[in-house]
C-alpha cells in the first residue's frame, strides 16, 4: 500500500504538477492564437514574441516596484505589474493592427500573406525585446517560493518520496482557471462576446446584423494581448524569462491550438494540456515509479523511458503532423488551416 502511495506522490511530483502548470501556460497561449485565428482569420506567428513583449514590461515594472519597496509578499510583485504589461502588449497589438494588418485586411489579402506579415511583425517585436531588455535570462520572481516543500512533505508524511508545489505552479493553475472561466463567460454571455462569435462564424451575416467589424477586431487584440502577457508572465515566474525561449514556445502553442481544433476556445485549453502531458509523460523515466508498484521480481533494469529528454520538442511536432494528417480539424472540430 505504501508503495502505491509513494508511486502516486512520485508521479504527481514529476509529471502531474509540472504537466498541469506547463499545460496551463500553453492553454493561455493557445487561446490567444485561436482567438486571433477565428476573428482575423490568420495564424499569428508573432504571438510568442507578443508574450515576450508583455512579459518584458511586467519585468521592468516589477523591478521598479521592487526598487521602491512596493510588494505583496508572499505573492510575487509581478502580479501587481501585470496590468501594466497587459496594457503595453495591447498597445503594441493595436498599433501593429492599425499600421500593418489593417492595410492587408482592407485589401482582402489571402491568409498566407497575413501569415508572412505576422512573421515580419514577429521579427520586429523580437528585435524590440532584445534591444530593450537584452537576450539573456532575467530573474523577476520574488515572494514565497513554495506552497509545499519536498523535504517538509517527506517529514510530515513519512513517505520516501517528496512532493513539491511551487507557488508559481499553484498560481499558474489558479490564474488559468479564473481567466478561462471569465473568457468563456464573456464569449457566451456578453453582447460583445456574442458579436465576436457571430463575426467568427460568418463575417457577412454578422455585418448585416449590425456588428461593427472594427470593434470586434479591437476587442480580439485586447484579449489576445492580455492573454499573451498573462501566459508569458506565469511562464517566466514558473521557469525563467529569456526572449528566445518565448519564441520557441510558438511550436507547442500552435500544436495545442491545432490539436484542440483551431478557432475553438475549448479546444485550445484541452490542446494545451494534451501537448504538455504528452511531452512530460513520453520523456519521463518510469523506472522508480514501476519499482514501487510491481513485485520485486519484475523490477525493470532500464530506465523505462520512451524518448530521451532531448526530443521533448519533437513530441509536439509529431503530434502536430499526426493530427494534420489524420484529423485536420482537431479534437473539437475547429477550422481547417
Amino acid at each position: 500500500m505504501e508503495g502505491l502511495i509513494n508511486a502516486i506522490v512520485l508521479f504527481s511530483n514529476f509529471v502531474l504538477i509540472p504537466g498541469m502548470a506547463y499545460g496551463s501556460q500553453l492553454a493561455l497561449g493557445a487561446l490567444g492564437v485561436t482567438l486571433i485565428y477565428s476573428i482575423l482569420r490568420f495564424a499569428n506567428f508573432a504571438h510568442g514574441d507578443l508574450m515576450a513583449f508583455g512579459t518584458m514590461f511586467v519585468i521592468l515594472i516589477t523591478w521598479w516596484l521592487q526598487s521602491i519597496g512596493v510588494g505583496i509578499d508572499p505573492l510575487p510583485t509581478a502580479l501587481l505589474a501585470l496590468p501594466f504589461g497587459m496594457a503595453a502588449a495591447i498597445a503594441i497589438s493595436l498599433l501593429s493592427d492599425r499600421f500593418v494588418y489593417r492595410f492587408y485586411r482592407r485589401n482582402k489579402s489571402p491568409a498566407v500573406i497575413f501569415v508572412i506579415v505576422s512573421i515580419g511583425v514577429m521579427f520586429l517585436m523580437n528585435g524590440l525585446v532584445r534591444v530593450i531588455i537584452g537576450p539573456n535570462d532575467r530573474e523577476f520572481g520574488d515572494g514565497a517560493r513554495f506552497l509545499i516543500k519536498a523535504r517538509e512533505f517527506k517529514e510530515a508524511t513519512g513517505l520516501n518520496e517528496g512532493l513539491a508545489l511551487k507557488l508559481s505552479q499553484g498560481l499558474t493553475i489558479a490564474v488559468t482557471f479564473v481567466v478561462v472561466i471569465a473568457l468563456f463567460w464573456f464569449l457566451q454571455k456578453s453582447r460583445t462576446g456574442k458579436a465576436m462569435r457571430a463575426y467568427s462564424d460568418n463575417e457577412d451575416l454578422a455585418l448585416l446584423s449590425g456588428v461593427s467589424p472594427d470593434r470586434v477586431v479591437i476587442v480580439a487584440w485586447v484579449i489576445a494581448g492580455s492573454l499573451a502577457t498573462i501566459a508569458g508572465t506565469l511562464y517566466g515566474l514558473d521557469k525563467s524569462f529569456k526572449p528566445f525561449t518565448y519564441f520557441q514556445l510558438l511550436l507547442p502553442i500552435f500544436a495545442a491550438a491545432i490539436v484542440g481544433g483551431i478557432g475553438h476556445p475549448v479546444g485550445a485549453v484541452v490542446g494545451g494540456y494534451v501537448i504538455a502531458f504528452s511531452e512530460v509523460t513520453v520523456t519521463y523515466a518510469y523506472k522508480k515509479f514501476l519499482i514501487y508498484i510491481v513485485p520485486e521480481s519484475w523490477e525493470p533494469e532500464s530506465l523505462v523511458q520512451l524518448l530521451s529528454t532531448e526530443y521533448k520538442f519533437a513530441v509536439s511536432f509529431v503530434i502536430l503532423v499526426v493530427v494534420l494528417l489524420v484529423r485536420p480539424t482537431g479534437i473539437f472540430k475547429g477550422k481547417v488551416l
Binding site: R151, G162, A164, Q305, T309, E310
Partner: protein, 401 residues
C-alpha cells in the same frame, strides 16, 4: 579643457607607442601569434588572457637577453571560440602573411583542433594553448607541434573519480552540457569512476539556454542515485538543473566540474548548495600567488581564469626560442619540452630574465611558471586540481590533487 588635454595625452602616447613598435620592427624582431576568442562566448575572459601572454613576451623582450636583444611582438588573431572556419583563416593570416614564429592559443577546444589540423601543424608552427581542455586533443596528429598548459579533462575526470570514491560515493547520476566539453568530460569521468568500482546509474545530456529542466531532472531522478554530477556551465543549463533538482527534491547533493564553479551559483541557489563538492584546475602554490602579485604590479588582474596558463604558454615560447638560439619554427618546437620539464634551474613567474640568462650561458632550465608547468609525453600539462566544497556559502579548498 580637461578633456582636450586627456585626448592630447592619449594621442601623444599612442603616437609614441606607434613609433616604438615601428622602431623595434626595424631592429631584430620576431612575431608571436596570440589567437584567442576576442569575440564570442568567452569574450569576457580573453582580454585578460591575451594581456597575460603579452606580459610574458614583453618581459622576455625587455630583458635584452633574448637572442641578443630580439624583441617579441604579439600579433592578435580572433579565434571566435566557436567558428572553426574563421579561426582557421585568422591563423592562416598570422602564419603566412605576418610570419609568426609560434602561436600562443587557441582557446576553445573545437577551434584549437581546427587550427592545429588545418594550418599550424601542416605549416610546422608550434601552438601552445592555455585553455583547450578536450581529451580529444591528446590524440590528434600533431607531429609534436601542439602543446597546452591547461590539463586535459581526462585528468579532471580521474581527479573527480578519486574525490568521490575517497568520500565513499559509489553511485551517481551524470548530466552534461551537450557539446565537446561536456561530452568529453562526462566520458572521461565515467571511465575513471567505473574503473574505481563506482557505478553510473544514468547519463543524460542537457541543452543550454532552456527555461525548463523539469523533464531532464525527472529522468535523472528516476535512476535512483542520491548524487548528481553536473558538467555544464554556471550561468547556463547547469544552474537550471540544480535549481530544479532542489525544487522537486530530486537531488540535494551535487558534484561539479570546473565549468560550474562560480560565485554566481552560490548567490542564486543559496544555502541549499552547502555540501556540494567540485574540482577546479589550479593549485595554491607559491608560484600562483607570485604570479597574481606580479601581474597586479603590471596592471593586470592576475587571478583571472586561465591567465596563469596564458602567461606560461607565452613564456614557454620565449624560453624555447632562447634555448634553440634562433627564431626558426622547427627549432622552437624541438626545445619546448626541454625548457618546460626537469632537469634544470626552476624558473618562476616574473623571472624570465634569469631563465634566459641561464640558457644563454648554455645551462638548462625547468620552467615552473604560474601554474607549476610540467608537460606529459604528449605535450600537455599534467595538471593539479583543487578539491572544493561549499561550506557556509563559499567554495573552500579541501586539498590539491
Amino acid at each position: 579643457m580637461k578633456h582636450v588635454k586627456t585626448i592630447k595625452t592619449t594621442l601623444m602616447a599612442s603616437v609614441a607607442a606607434f613609433g616604438l613598435t615601428m622602431g623595434s620592427a626595424m631592429a631584430d624582431d620576431a612575431k608571436v601569434g596570440i589567437i584567442l576568442g576576442f569575440t564570442g562566448p568567452i569574450e569576457s575572459l580573453t582580454p585578460d588572457m591575451a594581456a597575460s601572454a603579452e606580459l610574458a613576451l614583453k618581459e622576455a623582450s625587455d630583458s635584452g637577453i633574448l637572442l641578443g636583444g630580439t624583441t617579441l611582438t604579439p600579433v592578435r588573431g580572433d579565434s571566435t571560440c566557436i567558428d572553426s572556419a574563421a579561426a582557421t583563416s585568422a591563423a592562416e593570416r598570422l602564419i603566412t602573411s605576418d610570419g609568426v614564429v609560434a602561436i600562443m592559443g587557441a582557446d576553445c577546444s573545437g577551434v584549437t583542433t581546427a587550427i592545429a589540423n588545418n594550418t599550424a601543424v601542416p605549416n610546422g608552427v608550434v601552438m601552445v594553448s592555455p585553455s583547450a581542455t578536450s581529451p580529444a586533443l591528446t590524440t590528434i596528429e600533431d607531429n609534436g607541434y601542439f602543446f597546452r598548459t591547461a590539463p586535459s579533462d581526462a585528468r579532471q575526470g580521474e581527479v573527480l573519480a578519486d574525490v568521490l570514491t575517497d568520500r565513499g560515493i559509489m553511485e551517481i547520476a551524470i548530466t552534461y552540457t551537450n557539446n565537446d566539453y561536456g561530452k568529453g568530460l562526462s566520458d572521461a569521468f565515467q571511465a575513471a569512476y567505473e574503473a574505481k568500482g563506482g557505478s553510473v546509474l544514468v547519463v543524460a545530456a542537457h541543452e543550454d539556454g532552456k527555461a525548463d529542466y523539469s523533464a531532464e531532472v525527472a529522468a535523472l531522478a528516476a535512476a535512483g542515485a542520491d548524487h548528481l554530477a553536473v558538467f555544464g556551465y554556471v550561468d547556463q543549463g547547469g544552474k537550471g538543473i540544480i535549481q530544479t533538482s532542489l525544487d522537486t527534491g530530486a537531488f540535494d547533493s551535487f558534484v561539479l566540474a570546473d565549468g560550474m564553479i562560480g560565485e554566481s551559483l552560490i548567490e542564486s541557489i543559496g544555502p541549499d548548495l552547502n555540501g556540494t563538492i567540485g574540482t577546479l584546475p589550479g593549485s595554491e602554490s607559491q608560484e600562483s600567488a607570485d604570479f597574481v602579485s606580479y601581474a597586479q604590479d603590471n596592471g593586470l588582474a592576475g587571478d583571472c581564469p586561465f591567465c596563469g596558463e596564458s602567461y606560461d604558454a607565452a613564456a614557454l615560447i620565449a624560453l624555447a626560442m632562447q634555448a634553440a638560439g634562433s627564431t626558426d619554427r622547427e627549432a622552437i618546437q624541438a626545445q619546448i619540452m626541454n625548457v618546460a620539464n626537469a632537469p634544470g634551474t626552476p624558473i618562476g613567474p616574473g623571472n624570465l630574465a634569469e631563465g634566459l640568462q641561464i640558457l644563454a650561458d648554455g645551462g638548462e632550465v625547468d620552467y615552473v611558471g604560474a601554474t607549476s608547468v610540467e608537460l606529459t609525453d604528449v605535450g600537455e600539462a599534467a595538471g593539479s586540481y583543487k578539491e572544493l566544497e561549499v561550506q557556509d556559502g563559499a567554495f573552500v579548498t579541501m586539498q590539491v590533487r
